[in-house]
């Protein structure tokens, strides 16, 4: 079984409240982005954050699991749209914790009904690497419906 390695790099200068950093996709070179604490917990002001990167990771992991489950059920998708919303909150004395990841999936899937789509979405949640991991601290919810968000 191949071992796939992916690396990212973060550089931070100064204190957490007044300093700033960058985060770079070291393996693919697909992005290099600024980040600050203020934009992480307040208005993002065009800057990404660890939580937004996790939202992108979960959405992109879930979408491949869902496509795979639909194909296995004999109804491969034409098009899938997945949105992920990650919430971080202060939890008692524990400080900040990632408390939820809400997935919304919309699909254009020939010959698949709503029940079949919902069933594939539940199986995708069970099979998605990221869903399994993040349940260590967060609740994962899945809202799956047929029909594209943009009506196609």
């Amino acid at each position: 079984m191949p071992r796939i390695v992916r690396e990212a790099e973060a550089v931070w200068e100064g204190t957490v409240s007044r300093g700033s950093g960058t985060v770079r996709a070291a393996t693919s070179g697909a992005f290099e982005l600024p980040t600050t604490l203020a934009s992480r917990i307040g208005d993002p002001e065009g800057k990404t954050s660890p939580e937004e990167l996790l939202a992108a990771a979960h959405a992109s992991c879930f979408v491949t699991s869902l496509g795979s489950e639909l194909a296995r059920a004999g109804t491969p998708p034409e098009r899938l749209e997945v949105t992920c919303r990650i919430t971080m909150d202060e939890v008692g004395d524990l400080g900040h914790r990632i408390v939820s990841s809400a997935i919304a999936a919309r699909g254009t899937v020939p010959d698949c009904d709503q029940a079949g789509f919902a069933q594939a979405a539940n199986a995708a949640d069970a099979g998605c690497t990221f869903s399994a991991l993040i349940k260590a601290s967060a609740t994962v919810t899945i809202d799956a419906r047929l029909g594209g968000a943009d009506g196609d």
């Binding site: 992916r6 985060v23 660890p50 937004e52 992108a56 990771a57 992109s60 869902l66 914790r97």
Partner: protein, 144 residues
């Protein structure tokens, strides 16, 4: 106060032959970024990101902020922290390991103090907590 962050992904076609895109994120800091199964599950990324690389980016940036906070609280704010996170993914099994490596430029702090602060950040940063079920998370910390 709760903070929410969002991302939107589209996929077209089958897993093996199809392809997708991280269309946009709430901050609009990046996107669209192409994704494919091949660039995720084969050793070569072909310039495309993947869920595992995004997890590495989230972990490296979260750990860095947490460590910066811990060092400042201990009276030794860093000049610079340089962190890498390497995620190992085995298709069919999942993420088996995350290796954190940090080099710090921290005036007035010795190596032992830096390593202790780094260990605390590794244990307590929100992304470490969220990924606590990864079988192995390692840390290599030293002053630059």
């Amino acid at each position: 106060m709760a903070t929410e962050r969002t991302a939107e992904v589209t996929w077209k076609g089958s897993l093996m032959e199809g392809s997708g895109s991280i269309d946009r994120v709430g901050s609009e800091a990046f996107g669209p970024l192409d994704i494919t199964w091949a660039s995720r599950a084969e050793p070569e990324s072909s310039g495309r990101t993947s869920p595992e690389e995004l997890i590495a980016a989230a972990h490296a940036s979260c750990f860095s902020m947490s460590l910066s906070h811990g060092l400042a609280q201990a009276g030794a704010p860093p000049s610079q922290l340089q962190t890498s996170a390497t995620v190992t993914f085995v298709p069919g099994t999942g993420i088996t390991k995350i290796a954190l490596r940090v080099r710090g430029d921290v005036p007035g702090l010795d190596d032992a103090g830096f390593c202790e602060a780094a260990e605390t950040a590794k244990e307590n940063c929100p992304v470490s907590k969220a990924l606590a079920s990864v079988p192995e998370i390692t840390l290599d910390a030293s002053l630059a």
